[in-house]
């Protein structure tokens, strides 16, 4: 789980941003292309409906365009864009409901300790299993069931594969908070998914080739 070295794309990005600000605005289409999926998935991790996620993604890309002159290059462009996306998603959530959100979070923590599902053995589920809609749905639901503070960290770190430091930066929380939340999120995911995946895997094609 590490990011590929990306020194030269980052340099390319800085050049593109300078060119866009100097007037070559069409370049913005190219600048954001690598982030279309990422921004959508992060939006979806916050708002839950696909339509809302698409709206949030569009708003985030528009806001980033309008505010591009304020991007200082201290963080990576992607980190900056992710922070904008999270803000847009939260703004939308606040508009939709003033009740939900953080109130649920502490209740699920159970004194700070989450226990995994206990198993005696684990048969590896290969990525090919994701061709099956039911498996994809199980994963989507399990992530959706996490409360927002855990979902955000898990999606940034384990879906988008940001580093711990980048995750902390995007969410404006401390590195130790990221670690604690990430740990709980992962264990909660294991707790919900392991028993289900264990049942579902041998149903079709019982033996995989490896």
């Amino acid at each position: 789980m590490s990011l590929a070295g990306d020194a030269s794309p980052a340099l390319d990005e800085m050049r593109m941003i300078a060119a866009i600000l100097a007037g070559d605005r069409e370049l913005y289409h190219r600048l954001i292309q690598p982030y279309e999926l990422r921004v959508y998935r992060i939006a979806l991790s916050c708002v839950k409906s696909e339509m809302d996620a698409e709206d949030v993604a569009q708003e985030a890309f528009l806001k980033a365009f309008r505010d591009l002159a304020t991007f200082r290059g201290e963080s990576k462009f992607s980190t900056w864009l992710i922070a904008i996306t999270l803000n847009e998603a939260r703004r939308r959530l606040r508009r939709q409901s003033t009740v939900r959100m953080e109130s649920l979070d502490d209740a699920t923590e159970e004194g700070g300790r989450v226990s995994p599902a206990l198993l005696r053995d684990w048969r590896e589920i290969p990525s090919e299993a994701l061709e099956r809609r039911e498996i994809r749905a199980l994963l989507q639901d399990a992530i959706g069931h996490l409360s927002p503070i855990y979902r955000e960290v898990l999606v940034l770190r384990d879906v988008e594969e940001l580093s711990i430091e980048e995750t902390a930066g995007a969410l404006a929380i401390s590195i130790s908070s990221v670690k604690v939340r990430l740990h709980r999120a992962r264990i909660m995911l294991q707790k919900e998914l392991a028993p289900k995946l264990k049942l579902v895997s041998p149903k079709k094609r019982r033996w995989f080739q490896w």
Binding site: Q58, A69, W122, D158, K179, H183, I187, L189, Q190
Partner: protein, 89 residues
């Protein structure tokens, strides 16, 4: 020194990220060699995270990219960004 299962569970996330101090990592590793339950928990968690990271889990809705770029195009051809950005083509 020996650690209990419960403590091993607390270290799973950092174990997967390879961010435990070497001594702790060694303790966990030793425990895992002799504990099938903790090994299964670790394997399942790792497996679930690999699946979670797969691009197939969350796919873009059909037409997303087209709609996004169409909206951006309207913005790009609309008002200026930045205060002193010259209009140059």
């Amino acid at each position: 020194m020996v650690i209990e299962c419960r403590h091993v569970w607390d270290y799973i996330s950092e174990f997967l990220d390879d961010s435990l101090p070497p001594e702790t990592r060694e303790l966990v590793q030793k425990h895992l060699q002799n504990c099938e339950i903790c090994s299964a928990i670790l394997d399942s968690t790792r497996n679930i995270l690999v699946l979670t990271a797969d691009d197939r889990v969350f796919e873009l809705p059909a037409g997303y990219s087209e709609r996004l770029h169409a909206r951006l195009a309207r913005e790009i051809h609309g008002e200026n960004i930045g205060s002193e950005s010259p209009t140059r083509d």
